[in-house]
Subunit: 289 residues, 2 copies
Amino acid sequence: MSKIHICIIGMGLIGGSLGLALKEASYDQFNITAVDNNPQSLKIAVERGAADQICTEPSQGVRKADIVFICTPVLQIVPIVEQILPFLKKETIITDVGSTKEYLAEKINAILPAGISYVGGHPMAGREQSGIEAADKTLFRNKWYIFIPEVSTSLQALKAVTHIIEYTGANITTMKVKEHDRCAAVISHVPHVAAASMVNLLDFSHDADESLKLAGGGFRDTTRIASSNADMWADICLTNGAAITDGLEDLRSLLAQVILDIERGNRQAIHDFFSVAKKRRDALLNMSL
Amino acid sequence: MSKIHICIIGMGLIGGSLGLALKEASYDQFNITAVDNNPQSLKIAVERGAADQICTEPSQGVRKADIVFICTPVLQIVPIVEQILPFLKKETIITDVGSTKEYLAEKINAILPAGISYVGGHPMAGREQSGIEAADKTLFRNKWYIFIPEVSTSLQALKAVTHIIEYTGANITTMKVKEHDRCAAVISHVPHVAAASMVNLLDFSHDADESLKLAGGGFRDTTRIASSNADMWADICLTNGAAITDGLEDLRSLLAQVILDIERGNRQAIHDFFSVAKKRRDALLNMSL
């Protein structure tokens, strides 16, 4: 049986973890080419066993690929697709792991030539660390990996990518594209902006250093995702802008209501606000979030 | 040497952990009476070794006390002080662990009779679990325990409470009262409101259940403190209202600026926003937050 050739472009946390997981689980049926513009990341990728061969040029790395995973920040994905298209074999499948799916699908499907397929995917496997150093072969295990059939060009291509992702141990599911982007805004993108805002709030304070004495596990956890990659998150904000600004406006409304309740001394309303949140949060935990 | 009699009112996470830590570290020099209106909490307190004797009535529990620790939600503290004052020995010291210090000091110092001292304290040792079940003898270890000399009635009383708290392994420090309340708002109270808001934001969504598929470790950590005790947090909001609403307004301003930057497609500004937050957050981690 001939090997399936996989090219992973972007040897960061996700690309590196994907390489590690596939090499580990596949009994060598995948041949993996890692592409990154950072030679140091490629060196580590090979040392850690995430790739069979490496390459700094996407147009070189994709030539033999049956499937190309693009694992870069969102705004780099479309330029990379444009760059690699002339060099792909017939029937190559392109897939990506970007967090905002409508923007990407529109741009990519608009330039896709006949014979090349696109599958929109999104693994729910972020961490605040980034880079190949943080890659982990178990990163996807028991996490949702969402595919968007609505924006994928063929059922056959979707099946092929799904089959490969099964090796990572992820729970595979599907969503509609608008629903995905709206839900991602509420559950992931808005919390990232809020966490970064809470860190930056310290600059408003005249006594930021003294404040830190009062910082406990609560502050540490609530702001953990503020340590995420700035490039990645700037791209997400720009490509899922409408859903994120909607969510941020809703968050501002909720905060305005709390301010009003505090100013009015309305203990019942404030108590209800916290207890509804606690009930829902505890229920989420029981779902083994 | 006769034992020091300590009464702990409120056998929740903090009161229970204090009892456990003092019994563990004191080589039996402390006699601890636990007071709570919940007999079940008292039963567990004894079983777990957090107290020598128990009592459901504050006015009974404090009679022999040299030092009374009040470890209840903030708004219950002043009524408890009023209730116990007639039953205290001369020279008893009252101290509390409430998160908002100016409100408490003003109310308590206004009713304190001659001979009774008050010491304002605040351990930075919250967890999202509450109750004696979650109590832990190491809860205070290497955490800040802040005293507010400015609102404490005597240096001698402050020294006595400090000496006892040293047994918990906490790092003891002092702050001015307004500074404490302002810093606590920025670093703790506002993040709690924001975390609860992010959970409640799911109610704005038409597809909350689908959203949960996209919830990963980021959402779990960012909203962890939304599982905190609602009574405790309602009280904190009401008793540190001005500092908290100031902080929430600042947070709303930061979010409004991000919305504007997204709408204008200003990637540089959004990138700077995330990268400043990341740099500061990473620096905090290096301070072994």
